[in-house]
Amino acid sequence: MKRFSGWTLASPATLLVVIFLILPVLATIATTFMTPAGPFATYTSFFGSGFRRTVLWRTIQISAITTIISLVIGFITAFVVSRAPGWLKSILIIAAVFPLLTGVVVRSFAWLIILGKNGILNSTLLSLGLISEPATMLYTQGAVIVAMVYLFVPLMILTLAGVLESIPDDLIQASASLGARPVATFMQVIFPLAVPGLIVGAVLVFTGSFTAYATPQLLGGEAQMVMGTLMYQQAMVTFDWVSASTIAAIMVVITIAVVLLMTRIARRLNPMAV
């Protein structure tokens, strides 16, 4: 009996991706260049609008700040997790996996309860006498960033814990026995070895925050419109599909650019990296 060839087996999945992902996405991008006003008209109008430039800049800012905070928190926590005794490590990993598997809507909703006008944070601060009237925390850039950091820290911890765990203890002991202080060991031995993991984590968090929808929608609303919420609004509220396609194209380009740039940086910093 004849056996299936590699292509036969791979073709259904290949066709699904080509027909329902590559072609539709390319078609979306292509339409932005085929407007009656000329090939780049939609882009000049996007970048010509002060409001849209603000949205793009805000999105970049939120994503960059989220990435940096998540990197710092994730790195320190992952370091402790990777050096924890076995039983504790399992508990900590469960505590990180659980939020990760809980949906983005649920996790953003939690912050809605915490940061609301009559939310837990406000009522706690009021009862402690730290503030005299409820502070506005929702629909600020800070609210979006806090919720995004909450979203991505577990991912960062899990990505980095694996990398840090693979650093042999011998290496750290050798560094210490040669007289390096803990901080020097951390900066000169552990950090450089963790760079590939940090880059992977940074790419995941940056692209994830840059294209996020639910979190900025719930915690930022209209006041903190970002690329994702703007794209949704253009597509489903004002039904301006050309404009939505333009935002989609810009998102794809920036995502790809970040991935390529970070992989290049990873290669330069560490020749052993991907």
Binding site: R3, S5, G6, L9, P12, A13, L16, V17, F20, L21, P24, V25, T28, I73, I76, T77, V80, R83, S90, L92, I94, A95, A96, V97, F98, P99, L101, T102, G103, V105, V106, R107, A110, L112, I113, I114, G116, N118, I120, Y150, V153, P154, I157, A161, G162, P182, T207, T211, Y213, A214, L218, M231, Y232, A235, W241, A244, A248, M251, V252, V259
Partner: protein, 262 residues
């Protein structure tokens, strides 16, 4: 060094885990409150908001739709993803290198862009039914998880066992079901679970493909939140968390949780 972590590092880690778990505890607490508004700590314990979920027909409908879509799209992704992962591992030389990148494209392309493109160029263009478009979108979304997880378990599979079965006269399909599949069983379970959870929680693709009469649970939660700020959403969230715990328990039983950390 191993056991001597600086106390400041330990304190920091404790705070981080408090930050990770705390908000979810707050959601659970709010769901149990007897009040008509969201509050924590709960005032009076009650399960009435859980009953309320099932009294709202939109929640009943979308829970069913979400489960149907999650099962269907996971099934499709397994059906086409397992052969693809097998081909990638078994016929590595025959197939071009970019093929494995192709299968992770749904992760690389922003979900919103994928959702919008399916709406615009599949659903609207060919007036495909919304339910079908949702299944297509979700199948794409979960395909990378299937291919990656199955590939990982095939990496340690010794293909000479399969050769032996075939040279002894076992037909290809029988070989697949009796030799290959049992060996990657744990991978299939993990792929199923990751896909299912990803599909159930998806917002960014589904948001473009809901219309009159059809919607998924996360989208319904968002819609409900725009109008009401009562504990119903908290109770739905708790239901989703219970589902997650159940899933984690299955993973723990079959594979050990460290599997998810890879």
């Amino acid at each position: 060094m191993t056991n001597k972590l600086h106390p400041a590092l330990i304190a920091f880690t404790v705070l981080v885990f408090f930050f990770l778990v705390g908000p979810l505890v707050i959601v659970i607490g709010s769901a149990l409150s007897d009040t008509t508004y969201l509050t924590f700590p709960p005032q009076g314990l009650s399960l009435r908001w859980f009953e309320n979920i099932f009294q709202i027909s939109a929640f009943r409908r979308t829970i069913i739709t979400s489960l149907q879509i999650a099962f269907l799209s996971t099934f499709i992704a397994l059906l086409i993803g397992i052969p693809a992962a097998y081909a990638l591992n078994r016929y590595r030389i025959q197939l071009p290198g970019w093929l494995s990148t192709l299968f992770i494209l749904p992760i690389l392309v922003p979900e919103l862009v994928l959702g919008f493109s399916i709406l615009k160029n599949v659903a609207a263009q060919f007036s495909a039914p919304i339910f079908l478009s949702l299944v297509i979108g979700h199948s794409l979304l979960v395909l990378p998880y299937v291919v990656r997880v199955i590939s990982a378990s095939l990496a340690s599979f010794d293909f000479s066992i399969e050769e032996a079965a075939i040279s002894l006269g076992s037909p290809p399909l029988k070989t697949f079901f009796t030799i290959l599949l049992p060996n990657v069983r744990s991978g299939v379970i993990a792929a199923f679970i990751l896909s299912f959870i990803t599909s159930i929680n998806d917002v960014s693709i589904s948001i473009f493909m809901t219309g009159p009469g059809i919607s998924t649970l996360p989208i319904q939660i968002l819609a409900h939140m725009e109008q009401f700020f009562d504990p119903t959403v908290a109770s739905v969230s708790v239901l989703l968390m219970v589902l997650t715990v159940a899933v984690m328990a299955v993973v723990e039983r079959t594979l050990g949780l460290t599997f998810l950390a890879k």
